[in-house]
């Protein structure tokens, strides 16, 4: 199956994508009394704990801007990325029942998980908006770049989630490896330590990591209030599109094969 057909098939299933999103949102908060409110409260509480914990470790002199704001700006998109990859990676294996009942485009399942992770990111961003003023956020025009950062990260996440999903069908224990790898990747990406605090010698190596650039955009526009530089944007876009293409290619290659390996 060609990539273009595959994208066309996905676009034709908009009704289903909407239904999946609505189902996933309902299920997540169904049994809680606060219900939907948790999608705002949860990130808020998590961020408070993290900010409190790490404020003791890093003094405010490290890097620029506010540490809490930096942490919020970078950790939330990072979680959207890892959430997509972890849930997306399992999506085809877990979707066995659906895939053996309906002729669905396979890309739909990692896409569902990636979309959901980014919907959660959207709620977390709203939560952040509620408290941003208290932790040193000053609105600036740079914020207009935020949608660009989100889009690039989304495309990157979708590509990676798709690759992980296909690999997991053929190698079921890849899931465990994935968890460890994501954890290691977390420490290699300036999510906790701001990239502005990295010495030049370290930064040169850190820049080899695609996530460095993708996450940097969020630190720039939310925490530092500056527009991302052209180099960051270009590298991010190149990484996002390459990863997306790789994901689409892998799924297209195994589109008709993997249903036999479920």
């Amino acid at each position: 199956m060609r990539i273009r057909e595959q994208v066309g098939a996905i676009l034709r299933r908009r009704v289903l994508i909407g239904a999946f999103l609505s189902v996933d949102l309902r299920l997540k908060y169904r049994r809680s009394s606060l219900g939907f409110l948790w999608s705002l409260l949860n990130p808020l509480l998590m961020l408070t704990v993290m900010a409190a914990a790490f404020s003791f470790v890093f003094d405010r002199g490290s890097g620029q801007g506010s540490f809490a704001l930096h942490l919020f700006a970078c950790l939330l998109p990072w979680q959207a990325l890892t959430g997509s990859v972890e849930q997306g990676g399992r999506s085809l294996v877990r979707g066995e029942n659906l895939l053996l009942q309906y002729p669905l485009p396979k890309l739909l399942l990692p896409l569902r998980r990636t979309l959901f992770a980014f919907v959660e990111y959207f709620f977390a961003l709203l939560a952040l908006g509620l408290v941003a003023g208290f932790i040193g956020f000053r609105p600036s025009w740079a914020l207009l770049w935020l949608p660009v950062g989100v889009l690039l990260l989304f495309l990157f996440a979708l590509g990676l989630a798709s690759v992980a999903a296909v690999v997991t069908v053929y190698f079921r224990d890849a899931v465990h490896l994935l968890g460890v790898t994501l954890r290691a990747w977390f420490y290699l990406t300036p999510v906790i330590i701001p990239y502005t605090a990295l010495p030049d010698s370290v930064r040169r190596w850190a820049e080899l990591n695609p996530a460095y650039h993708l996450i940097k955009i969020f630190d720039d526009v939310i925490n530092l209030g500056v527009a991302p530089d052209a180099r960051t944007l270009l590298i991010s876009a190149a990484c996002a599109l390459s990863m997306l293409f790789l994901g689409l290619w892998v799924v297209a290659k195994y589109e008709h094969k993997l249903v036999f390996r479920l």
Binding site: R12, R13, V15, L16, G18, A19, F20, S22, V23, R26, L27, R30, N97, L98, L99, L100, Q101, Y102, P103, L104, Y170, F171, R172, D173, A174, L177, H256, V259, F260, R261
Partner: protein, 247 residues
């Protein structure tokens, strides 16, 4: 969909590749690569040279022993498995009603499942919501409309899937062992629900071990034997021949 619904299979074959390790893992692959071996597999022909034409008005029963290729054939018709060889044309709106229901999820309520089932068949939520009253009335489970499916009895869940399938107006209905198990009273009710559905659907293809329901419902029976069509004709001829071969 203006053209009349129809199914045409020409010399269709389907071969499964069975690997020795059912749950493939990195560890196993690594170990086998270190030993210098390839993944062990053998090819299993599930269907071979199947020719079949089904036109509007036909209710076709597929019979055969376990492993004869019945479910494979149905999944082929549903578009889930691509054929390994030959050509397949399916014209019309296909609704697959398999053992798994309509892709129902236990955590979702009856109504949510109804809406999701519609979405899986590309029917907008608003349309399904408008039809929900009719579905729950028809299935006689109105009280459980907002109860998660996991609290449904098997009979209730089956009635919900029949009623849902009724409302989406299939042109081609694929049924796989939907009568397996269940007590007599449940089966009677289910059959009643189903007959209505079958009357409304131009093409029905059903797989069942229950020859009685095959005889009741179908007007043509295909007997599959080791992946090949052994006999194809009216139920009155094929079923006795199949029974004789099984005895």
């Amino acid at each position: 969909m203006s053209a009349a619904p129809g199914i045409r299979l020409r010399e269709v074959s389907l071969t499964y590749r069975l690997y020795s390790n059912k749950r493939p893992s990195l560890k196993a692959s690594l170990m086998s690569a270190l030993r210098g071996g390839q993944d062990e597999f053998r090819d299993l022909p599930a269907l071979q040279g199947v020719n079949l034409e089904i036109a509007a008005g036909e209710r076709v029963g597929i019979v055969g022993r376990n492993g004869a290729g019945k479910t494979s054939l149905l999944r082929l018709l549903a578009g889930i498995f691509p054929p390994t060889g030959g050509g397949i044309e399916v014209q019309g709106f296909v609704v697959p009603l398999f053992r798994l229901g309509l892709g129902f999820e236990p955590e979702l309520t009856g109504e949510e499942n109804l809406i999701q089932a519609g979405a899986l068949l590309d029917i907008p939520a608003a349309t399904m919501r408008a039809r929900a009253d009719a579905v729950f009335e028809f299935a006689e489970i109105g009280r459980f409309r907002h109860t998660p499916l996991k609290y449904y009895s098997r009979g209730m869940a089956t009635r919900l899937s029949f009623a849902t399938a009724c409302e989406v107006d299939p042109q081609i209905l694929l049924l796989d062992e939907v009568f397996g198990g269940g007590d007599m009273s449940f089966r009677e009710k289910a059959v009643k629900r189903m007959q209505e559905l079958i009357l409304r659907t131009p093409i029905v293809v059903m797989v069942s071990h229950n020859l009685e329901s095959v005889r009741d419902i179908t007007n043509r029976v295909v007997w599959l034997d080791e992946g090949r069509v052994r006999m194809d004709g009216p139920p009155g001829e094929v079923i006795p021949a199949y029974e004789a071969a099984c005895a």
